[in-house]
């Protein structure tokens, strides 16, 4: 039933503006891939191209070996879940869910049975006769989900499905979506701008920027080993420090940053390090200490904020402004001199921009 989706060298334009540039993407059978990025990055355009509401200027889209590129949207057989639910206001919940079945010539008892089954799965069987206007946001999205799933589509696509829900419900619903998607094994594309949401439910995430995929990887790898500076900033590496290797010594290297500050880094942690690189550290990966004998980046501390698990400091260093965390056991005041010590396990190495 479920099929793999392939986008091959897709380019798209709005008028003369290019919105997608040579984008390729493969979503495996039963896999859930999120398209993650800020508004205008091309994630919704990609979804609309696959749905058939937009036409690419070049490239092909195939689903389970079937070429979709020139197929009109109503023949593509794709389940869509929209941000604003897009339920039919004049039809009851049951008729909303049954709409796709009706188009497929399923009627009478067969239709009623499948609609009821689907409504039971999303826990809304008791609301079958209501009109959408009488439902809450979460219920509406469940109906939308049931409506898309009941036709057993080979591909399911979500366009920011949880954006209009409140925070608590968002978390519940995303678990529910993932469970239904897993249970049916439906290949899925999930568009969102919410990193936590994308990382929590996806097999793989494509981080998009300016019409291109910057990195397509598992959430774990994206979070720990971003492939470039853009992705690193996106997943929360606050400190990107350009450095140059000055000495290689077996399992260690010595590298220098702006202001002549030198650090020793173990190769074991980072693998190969090119001669010129960027050391990327989250605030957690730069530990603040007032122990002057430690090797680290000399800094003058600025504003201190309380994070619950640590203090966070704005720090002025020869390599520019950095953000670092310090232990709760040692409170350092603004203006104090300190060292910022990189924690290799919390840092990663990037190619220079």
């Amino acid at each position: 039933m479920t099929q793999s989706l392939t986008l091959d060298s897709i380019s798209a334009h709005y008028g003369s503006t290019q919105v997608l540039e040579n984008l390729s993407l493969a979503v495996g059978e039963g896999e859930l891939v999120s398209l993650l990025g800020a508004s205008g990055c091309g994630k919704t355009t990609t979804l609309r191209l696959v749905a058939g509401f937009l036409q690419p200027t070049s490239g092909t889209i195939t689903l389970g070996g079937r070429d979709l590129t020139r197929l009109p949207p109503h023949q593509r057989d794709i389940g869509l879940v929209f941000q604003n639910y897009a339920l039919f206001p004049h039809l009851s919940v049951a008729d909303n869910v049954g709409f796709g079945l009706k188009q497929r010539g399923v009627s009478g008892d067969a239709k009623a049975k499948r609609v009821t089954e689907m409504l039971e799965r999303v826990g809304l069987a008791h609301l079958a006769d209501r009109l959408p206007g009488a439902l809450s946001g979460g219920q509406k999205q469940r109906v939308a989900l049931a409506r898309a799933l009941v036709i057993k589509p080979p591909l399911l696509m979500f366009d920011e499905p949880l954006s209009n829900l409140d925070a608590k419900l968002r978390v519940d619903m995303r678990v529910e979506i993932r469970q239904l998607q897993r249970a049916n094994g439906t290949t899925s594309v999930y568009v969102t701008h919410d990193q936590e949401e994308a990382f929590s439910i996806s097999d793989r995430v494509a981080i998009m920027h300016a019409g291109r995929i910057m990195q397509l990887d598992t959430p774990e790898r994206l979070y720990q080993r971003p492939a470039n500076a853009f992705v690193a900033r996106f997943v929360g590496f606050e400190n990107l420090i350009p450095m140059a290797v000055v000495e290689r010594d077996g399992a260690k290297i010595t590298a220098e940053m702006a202001g002549g500050v030198r650090l020793t880094l173990p190769l074991e942690q980072f693998g190969a390090i090119p001669d010129s690189f960027i050391l990327a550290c989250r605030a957690d990966g730069l530990q603040v200490t007032d122990n002057a004998t430690m090797e680290g980046i000399p800094a003058t501390l600025g504003l201190r904020t309380y994070l619950g698990r640590a203090y966070q400091y704005q720090a002025e260093t020869p390599a520019g402004a950095l953000i670092a965390n310090g232990p709760l056991t040692r409170v350092l005041e603004s203006g104090a001199a300190a060292k910022l010590v990189p924690v290799p396990e919390q840092c990663t190495i990037l190619a220079p921009e």
Partner: protein, 262 residues
């Protein structure tokens, strides 16, 4: 919880009310008068001036013509106006801004000029049948109302609903009738009523486009007034009002109920 309402506000409200309803009362009163001239308050009560309308052949014929023209021109305007309003709203971002203004032009041009122009170019130049010219003129002046009213109800329509239906396998044209139209039903009804009333009460276009053997009720009324000053004028006016109200009631009843039953 009592609220103080300023006496001037009450007085103002009453004045506006009298201003709005007064003329209607006078017309209705005059129509019921038993006299052979227009007078208010009515002297004696009688329905003879209503009977008189139907005894005059010209009035009988023009009532039929007016109803036909109003129904046909409204239908034509809906057939053109609904798709036009749909396209203007659906593709608002891609379409140039002046395009929607273009559809409002017929109400911006003074109707007398429009009527004269239609007479000169349609009826005289192309020698088109008088009935067709009249119908065309009416369709033209009611079209802007249709587009405006339906656009207003489409403005609150979420087009992703349409996309949802298409993605579920419903072809675009079928989606238009099964999903879009039922959701702008009230707009279509309002447009119908407004267009019908505009057409049936129109004088300025009709005065140019009516001719020998074909006239509308308001034009016939004017012709009658030039010769007689009896309460027929008032009774025809009341009849026009009743027609308008009847259309509103019928449309709301029939269209409203069948759509709700679905």
């Amino acid at each position: 919880m009592t609220r103080n309402i300023h006496p001037l506000l009450i007085a103002g409200t009453v004045l506006v009310f009298i201003f709005l309803v007064g003329p209607l009362v006078i017309v209705l009163g005059s129509a019921l008068s038993d006299t052979t001239y227009l007078t208010f308050p009515p002297q004696g009560l009688s329905l003879r001036w209503f009977e008189n309308i139907f005894q005059i052949d010209a009035f009988r014929r023009t009532i039929v013509t007016s109803l036909q023209i109003a129904l046909l021109s409204t239908t034509i305007a809906l057939i053109i106006g609904i798709p036009a309003a749909y396209a203007l709203n659906r593709h608002r971002i891609q379409l140039p801004g002046w395009l929607s203004t273009l559809f409002i032009l017929p109400v911006l041009v003074p109707e007398l000029v429009l009527g004269f122009s239609l007479l000169k170019n349609l009826a005289v130049q192309f020698n088109s049948p008088i009935y067709i010219s009249l119908l065309f003129g009416h369709a033209l002046i009611v079209l802007p109302y249709v587009i405006r009213v339906i656009s207003a109800s489409l403005a609150s329509f979420d087009f992703s609903i349409e996309e949802a239906a298409i993605s579920l396998g419903s072809p675009p044209l079928k989606t238009f009738f099964t999903i879009l139209l039922p959701n702008v039903r009230s707009g279509v009804i309002a447009a119908f009523i407004l267009a019908f009333i505009t057409s049936i009460n129109d004088v300025s276009i009709s005065i140019f486009l009516t001719g020998p053997g074909l006239s509308t009720l308001p034009i016939q009324l004017l012709a009658h007034m030039e010769q007689f000053f009896d309460p027929t004028v008032a009774s025809v006016s009341v009849l026009l009002m009743l027609l308008t109200v009847a259309v509103m009631a019928i449309v709301e009843r029939t269209l409203g109920l069948t759509f709700l039953a679905k």
